[in-house]
Amino acid sequence: MLRRSVLGMLAAGATVGPALAQGDDWAKVVEAARKEGKLVIYTASIGSPFHKTVINAFEQKYGIQVELLEARASEVRERVRVEQSAGRFLGDIHHNGSTTTWLMTRDGNFQPHGPIPNIKNIVPPYDADDIRVPAEVISYCLMVNRNLVKPADEPKSWKDILDPRWTGKILSDDYRALGGGAVLFVVMYDTFGKEFVEKLAAQKPVFSRDIQNSERRVARGEFPLYIPFSLQDYNNLKGLPVKPIVPIEGRPYVRFDLTVLKNAPRPNAARLFINHYLEPDSQIVFANAGYNPVVKGVVEKTVEEIRPLLATKALGTTVPERQDAMLELAKQIFK
């Protein structure tokens, strides 16, 4: 099904829009992009100052004006779907989590991006295909309140959170809903098995879907431990008594992807932007903020404070095909 959709779009991509054919000189792409003069990005990364930094650099470098439409993942998806159904092709670039991007790829909302020079610099386990290009990676770990948890008591392994001392004291993103909690559930299930998640349920974690507020609740001392903590949120909490901990097994992660929307009015500017996003200068902005970069040679240049956390092992991520089944399983285990 997915393969058919992708092949269909590849065929369509050859005929739609003024995109340049593969193999053309990149300089011509840059020139065509400058002539297009504008780029509209639909993103599920709401209010990210790092995104803005990279966009501003793009505007200054190429003189192409960028318009940003920010909304939550499902809202971005629905807008794109409705607009395309109504024959309104307004956006050029789509930036969203890998699960939503996978679903939208299946629904035929994108067109092939064509050759982009910096794709060759992408490092495993992240990889690009004809439609999707990894942008940055959200890595998940634990967060403890330093006033409530002594260094000796800090969890070192994911298995340590099953210790009875944490019973009723874990604040967590909900595993039964799309988001960081669901990513953690899948990775814990895949890594440690069903028994682990059942024991985690016996720890009676308290669920909350307001991530920013949950982090503050832990900082204020309502709970000593929060999972899963998005590493990039540490920037907003510097100065508070909290500490991120990447357990020895590694960090669950979720990828954000860049794609070119179907019938994008400015396909050359879109390609140029994706290439710009993969430049080391852009990726270092995200890396210093706590996102894992997707291209080589960036982690090593990250600020010292964050480097050891980013250099940890990528433990695993969600599998879009299994997402609904895993959400259902989480509902049964965490009633």
Binding site: L68, R77, E78, A177, Q212
Partner: protein
Amino acid sequence: MGSATLEERPDRVTVAANFPERTVLFGGLRRHGRLFGMGALILILCFLTLYPMVMLLYGSLHSTPPGIPGEFNLDGYAGLASAENLVVLANTVGISLVKTILSLALAILLAWIIARTDTPGRGVLEVLITLPFFIPPILTATAWAMLGNAQVGTINLVWRWLTGSESTLVDVYSYGGVIWHMMQYSTPFIFLFVVDAFRAMDPSLEESSRMSGATRWQTFWRITLALMLPVTTSAFILSFIRGMESFESAVFFGTPVGINVITTTIYNSITQRAQPDYQSATALGFAAMALMFLLLVLQGRLLRGRSFTTVTGKGYSPNVMRLGSMRWVTFAVCIAFFILTVALPIGQLLLSSFFRFFGFYEADMLTLDHYRSVWENSSFWRAFGNTMLLGVVGATVTMALGGIVAYITTRTRWRGRRLIDVLAWLPWMMPGMVLGIGFLWGFAILPHAIPIYGTLWALLLAYVALGTPVAVRVTSAAYQQIATDIEECSRVHGAGWWQTLGRILIALAWPAFAVGWVLIFFGIMRELSASILLYAPGTEVLSVVMLKMWVSGKPEEVSVIGLAMLVLVLVFRWVQLKFIKKRISTL
């Protein structure tokens, strides 16, 4: 009172008497004009309210959303009949009912104190006790989460310090917490509805009751409250329905302890699954709507055939009850309400806005950075400009539309009046997050030559549709208190339909218009569900910018904007009440 606004037009009466054939001609034109007007009104309301509903109905009956191949079926509705959904329904109705009853009782008490007693400082108190309604719910939720959490909430810490006990006095993460947080919005909302009705009460009716031997309590119960029935039932129903559609309180304080309501279930269907389930979400929205419709039918039956007129052609001056030393008790009641619902949470917000982090009050964390950051944020100013424009134009257009609809439904027997009443009500009965999708679907599929989608028009039309039910309810409750004799008197003296509407009804009901305008204006400032789906680059509004700030971990900056909104409210309310005072000198 009413006659002062009338204008003598003997020429018209004379002309009508001398040239009956012209009267027939004009009568025919007038009839055709009325038909045309009603037709235009029905078309406007159909586009604003029925059209997005039809899109949603399609979504609830089709296996896929518009634009994707699928099949028609009833799976969305069949899926509602589960034990889990019954619990959700019971939670929703139970929570909303309890909070509405408590809020109504409290609001009536406060309105009576402010409008009909000599309680000291009630002019200022009136402004202060309505403040919570205008603060974004997410901010008061954050404040209460800090004040009332079981572990380290300020209230519980003070309680433990005072009593030496280890017990917990309050826990906002509970049914009580959800209800309490909702009450902070519904009490001022109902108060705003009823306070002007108390003012518009002709005291001669109460005096007659007292002279006939009724006690003060009997008079309050049988006369005052009975005459207020249209306003109180309208406020009750609006508030109850809003309670069923409330999202923030339940998601903030209910979800962490397993309390689910209709809106959190809809939210889960749309945003928390890999594949959004619009069919279930819209079906649940329509099921909730059917329930609310029953309420409206009940209200109609309750009020049918009864008169609630208190403003007649005879002059009167609303009096105030001299309470003696008891006025300090009523003053204390208002102050207690103010402290609990305003001073505590807003104090927390104000304090936090001067510190680097919400809730961390250390000297080295004092800062003005949040104010500076908001001041220098160009997105904020752009959104502020858009929101002000949409707020002023939206509230004015909505009140004009609502005033006309209310006039036709309450003061005429024109054919089609029930239809426009139902059409105007529709948006209120569908949870906002579902209705937002209806607008998105509806506006996007319009022919591209109609420039609505992706422009400020899309937001304006959605806001007008969302605000119309409030405008209609506020104005129709006020109209119902005005006797028809004043209106007839105006017509006999030669005033036209528009003149009578403007110079008699609106002139007499203008305090209600002012309240409705403020309610709608601030409703527009806070609206998020439709805005997030309809805005385009360049047409951002304040609620969207606040969401961006919140999600990106800047609650302190959101507080600054919330406080700025409060200042705006104070200015608006001050101006509004200054005018009321001018008109009703005894107050």
